[in-house]
């Protein structure tokens, strides 16, 4: 295991060291200490590394991740795992706004709360939040799934495409074209698998499912007032 201390090295040096593992893997496990809220930690990783960040991270942590497993033992700022392609990002604390924004694949787990616009424009990632999510979460979400074990803020799933949303707690309000849907057997199975993969113990039967009513997919003159 390699320990990288950010009080004596820069973020650029950290990211270079992690990227260098793609050409020749010499060290698969990394521990990062003293992050002190720095931005852009462990971004653009493209190999099967396990990175543990001890402390709070700043903006865009683990962005564009591919195949690596990154755990933050603290809170993260805006845009954690933004545009992730694959791999796993786990946040032990809270995540600020736009967690998992535009992410294409992999799994993001937030063990605390996530702020506003969690999963905005997500394109295939699976996001599991043990706490609450803020307003406008899953805005224009295209595919993947968002699981919220707590409550969801205003306008959940606004202008939603095909993300499967599961919420256990209260939903303050649903956004345009997002509706509650029947929880069928295949959804229980999907949610059971997601919770198991995230290591979260919850009863899948206690969740409600939300999805797109598909009324705003294409322009219809009758919907002109909704735009």
């Amino acid at each position: 295991m390699n320990t990288f201390d950010l009080s004596t090295n820069t973020v650029t040096e950290l990211n270079h060291a992690l990227h260098a593992q793609k050409d020749k893997m010499t060290q698969a496990e990394w521990v990062v200490t003293n992050p002190k809220g720095s931005h852009n930690l462990a971004v653009g990783l493209d190999s099967e590394l396990a990175v543990d960040i001890h402390g709070h991270a700043g903006y865009f942590c683990a962005g564009m991740n591919k195949t690596a497993s990154i755990t933050v033992h603290g809170n993260v700022g805006q845009g954690v795992a933004e545009n992730m392609m694959s791999g796993v990002v786990r946040v032990k604390g809270d995540a600020s706004q736009a967690a998992g924004a535009t992410a294409h694949g992999g799994m993001l787990i937030v063990e605390g709360n996530a702020g506003a616009r969690c999963g905005i424009s997500m394109k295939g990632v699976d996001i599991v939040v043990k706490g609450n999510v803020g307003h406008m979460s899953c805005f224009m979400g295209q595919s993947g799934s968002l699981v919220v074990c707590g409550d969801a803020g205003e306008a959940l799933g606004d202008s939603l495409y095909e993300v499967h949303i599961y919420v256990k707690g209260e939903v303050k309000s649903l956004g345009a074209d997002c509706v509650q849907k029947e929880m069928r057997e295949e959804h229980i199975a999907e949610l059971t698998a997601l919770l198991a993969k995230a290591g979260v113990e919850e009863d899948p039967a206690s969740f409600k499912r939300y999805g797109s009513a598909r009324e705003l997919y294409t322009f219809k003159v009758d919907n002109a007032s909704a735009y």
Binding site: K36, G37, S38, G55, H56, G58, Y59, N75, G77, Q78, G93, D94, S96, Q97, G115, A116, G134, H135, M136
Partner: protein, 299 residues
Amino acid sequence: MCGIVGLYLKNDALESKLGELFEPMLISMTDRGPDSAGFAIYGDEVGEGWLKLTLRHPDESFDWAGLTDQMATALQCSADWMNNANVAVLKIQADETSVREWLSTHYEDVLILSAGSSIEILKEVGLPENISSKFSLSGMKGTHIIGHTRMATESAVTMEGSHPFSTGSDLCLVHNGSLSNHNRLRENLKREGITFETENDSEVAAGYLTWRLNEGDTLKNALESALKDLDGFFTFTIGTKNGFAVMRDPIACKPAVLAETDDYVAMASEYQALASLPGIENAKVWEPEPATFYIWERH
């Protein structure tokens, strides 16, 4: 983009270290605001019947002793002063209206940065590090302090346009964001008797709160009204004589993070600014909710 920071002490034993704890917070927000910086510190309160002002003159060798003597003689009262670079803190046993009238008549080029019984505002154009050092921030004592690093978007880079803004007694405000209805609001507030020094949008928010508090609102009521009447993006930190408050706009456009321990409450645009505080590793750290205000005050 701008950076805002605030530190409110719950533990009196830390009061002598307020400046020392706060300086790295302000400097760490240089990336968010390199063009100007300022801070408002509360402490060293004057007694009943006394007024405390922060005054500024462009000339560092300005004769503050002369000004104080003349004013004390004219207003027939006691006065004391202490200067810090090109700014002076004046303590005078007189009412604010008489002091303002006398100053505007005799010293047009002296600007009043703050007035009250506890507040001192120090601000300038330049890098936060240079401004901290110019005013010897690290040695300052007090109960609470709020600061701002500016990257101007809505108005000119000038000392007058830098934050904190104070338009009322012991009240000040720092702002990250931009207000879209500040022109209309400024005109309305002028009719209510609030005066403005600049075309800056943030000064309008400070003026708005002053107006509400003058009308008898509590800070809580004033902030509730502000949420209805201010249009735009904002994260505000507001300093009052007894404490500070934090409020974000309903869509939470601008960042904010809060931290609390038994010793202090701290606020910053980004966690980086809090990382130097003692005990931060075990502090409760969270993101304030949109359209919600958080108030800490000593009673």
